[in-house]
């Protein structure tokens, strides 16, 4: 990056929603399906068909808007965006151009050790297009309209992002939020989250924006990063050499790592937006919005802050546990029954998450239930069992007999430690009595022998002596020699 330049980036993120039916008709909206099995006269754009909006589509938009702190516009309108493409059955897309459903708002992203606020310009409702398959036949393309009409939300940011890294962080945060809200699985590879990136450059300190170019059809963050870096470099080189950046819509070629114009200027689309006469305004009442607000789950940022500030977890652990809502909620529930949050975090991260990944199951169906886990954590905290005994001996046994109380099982397996003074002192006396030679060497100054005595003590106790108490008492005894 040439010194003295700043890259300015704005995003248009498309989220494909996981509603049951499509945006404007009752076709199945789920992903996949054999070609043209999720279509009807309406999504096929047949003559005489009309759109009818989906209540869940609207509710999801409100949910996302509330989560991002947007203003929910009680009145919003639908417009037609007119253009010809083989996968666009009506020859226009139903979208919201003039009055979108949500305005303003922001999403915080974590960069390095800091937090940056990325402002949202607006969110609007629209429908997806079908799919063209170009590589199956040599001189024909095949059109599958399953995806035509699937509900989308488009989130447009202000040009607040400054690097590919920030874009990555933003997209991760948006994905995480979409999954928390149960509106989309935000999967870029599957296409349920896509982004178009607007890139411009300017000299540091300049207040006006440079000419921006839009890079479309980026379907992985890896490509997005490379595309942004290449494009910023290209624009800076132009400006440095006194040339002008021309406004263009670009395509990124992952093979060459370069961007190139998608359309010539003459072919620039004239979308002829106008209000869709088939759809009167969308009017929401505050009761509808409040009912959605009252059912909002905790949000990723809140959860992360709670984990770091209230539970005292490290940033890394907090982020890991806050990534998926079901894990976060499970962890919060666990921490409601135990104050040992850090130990609980380790337990969940090391033992439960791997199990979850392997079994693709909900944490609540883990063989060892929450009461047993809390009991286990308490035993460890009370020094009644050592960490190693707990996880290497007791844990496997609990997995086999999940109904058992950990305390009872530990007891029966004779794993419980004691900090009983009499018991430990008796053992210390036993050890010292058994090694008089080493005792006199210790008196003469060989202080390192404390470790030997400790080892003997633990061996004799068969691991039952609580190491902390035993160390303290041994030291006391040795100092009194």
């Amino acid at each position: 990056m040439v010194q003295g330049y700043e890259t300015v980036i704005g995003l248009e993120v498309h989220l494909q929603l996981n509603t049951r039916s499509k945006a404007f008709c009752a076709d199945d909206a789920s992903f996949g399906g054999a070609p043209n099995t999720r279509v009807s006269a309406i999504s096929l754009g047949h003559p005489g068909t009309l759109p009818m909006p989906n209540r869940a589509h609207v509710a999801y938009a409100v949910r996302l808007g509330l989560a991002l702190g947007c203003h929910i516009n009680l009145v919003s309108t639908f417009d037609r965006k007119n253009y010809f493409y083989a996968d666009l059955p009506k020859g226009y897309q139903i979208t919201q151009d003039k009055q979108p459903i949500c305005s303003g708002g922001a999403l915080d992203i974590r960069i390095g050790s800091g937090v940056r606020k990325v402002r949202i310009h607006h969110i609007h409702i629209e429908e997806d297009a079908g799919k063209s398959i170009h590589d199956q036949l040599p001189d024909a393309s095949l059109i599958d309209l399953n995806r035509a009409g699937v509900p989308l939300l488009e989130i447009v940011t202000e040009p607040d992002l400054r690097s590919a890294e920030e874009v990555d962080a933003f997209m991760s945060a948006m994905r995480r939020l979409a999954r928390y809200l149960d509106i989309s699985d935000g999967n870029m590879e599957q296409g349920s989250m896509r982004c178009d990136v607007n890139v411009s450059v300017r000299r540091r300190g300049q207040h006006t924006y440079g000419t921006r170019c839009e890079i479309k059809n980026l379907n992985s963050m890896r490509f997005a990063r490379r595309a942004i870096e290449y494009e910023a470099g290209r624009q800076i080189a132009l400006v440095e050499s006194g040339q002008v950046v021309e406004q263009n819509t670009l395509h990124f070629d992952p093979q060459t790592g370069t961007t190139s114009p998608l359309r010539s200027k003459e072919e620039a689309h004239d979308y002829r937006y106008f209000p869709d006469p088939d759809l009167p305004p969308l009017v929401l009442d505050t009761a509808f919005i409040e009912s959605i607000r009252s059912q909002m789950p905790p949000l990723p940022e809140e959860v992360y802050r709670r984990f770091t500030e209230e539970y005292g977890l490290s940033n890394y652990d907090a982020a890991l546990l806050a990534e998926e809502k079901s894990v976060a909620l499970y962890f919060i529930e666990l921490c409601q029954h135990t104050p040992h949050t850090k130990a609980a975090a380790n337990l969940v991260i090391n033992k439960l998450l791997p199990w979850r990944d392997e079994n693709q199951a909900d944490l609540h169906s883990f063989p060892i239930g929450l009461p047993a886990l809390t009991e286990l954590l308490q035993l460890i905290a009370d020094n009644q069992i050592s960490n190693s005994a707990a996880y290497q001996r007791l844990w496997p046994a609990l997995l086999v007999e999940p109904g058992q109380s950990p305390a009872a099982l530990a007891q029966s397996m004779d794993l419980l430690q004691t900090s009983d003074a009499e018991f430990i002192i008796a053992l210390i006396d036993q050890v010292l009595a058994a090694h008089p030679g080493k005792v006199s060497e210790f008196r003469k100054g060989k202080k390192g022998l404390q470790g030997f005595f400790m080892g003997e003590l633990m061996r004799l106790s068969q691991g039952k002596a609580d190491p902390k108490t035993a160390t303290a008492m041994l030291l006391q005894k040795l100092q009194a020699l």
Binding site: N36, V39, M52, P138, S141
Partner: protein
Amino acid sequence: MQIDEALIFRLEQLTRLELDDAERQELLHDLNHILELVEQMNSLDTTDVAPLAYVNAASTPLRNDVVGPQATPEQALRDAPRAADNCFKVPKVIDL
């Protein structure tokens, strides 16, 4: 604004239509007529008048999110000019 051949060409592009010479001449005439109509409209003061897009001023109803009856691929494709593998077939799309 210019009513000329370039405009007609642009409109043909936008609408995916090709006119013959006679039709182009008539269209030039019609476009000029629209300009006259617009001038007529402009003679009426509409300052502060809200555009009317929906005569019944109702709000749009919403549909419950349930899957309804769909078409089978056979039905969807039955009147397709060309089809293959249960898809609509079009001559190769060159652009991206």
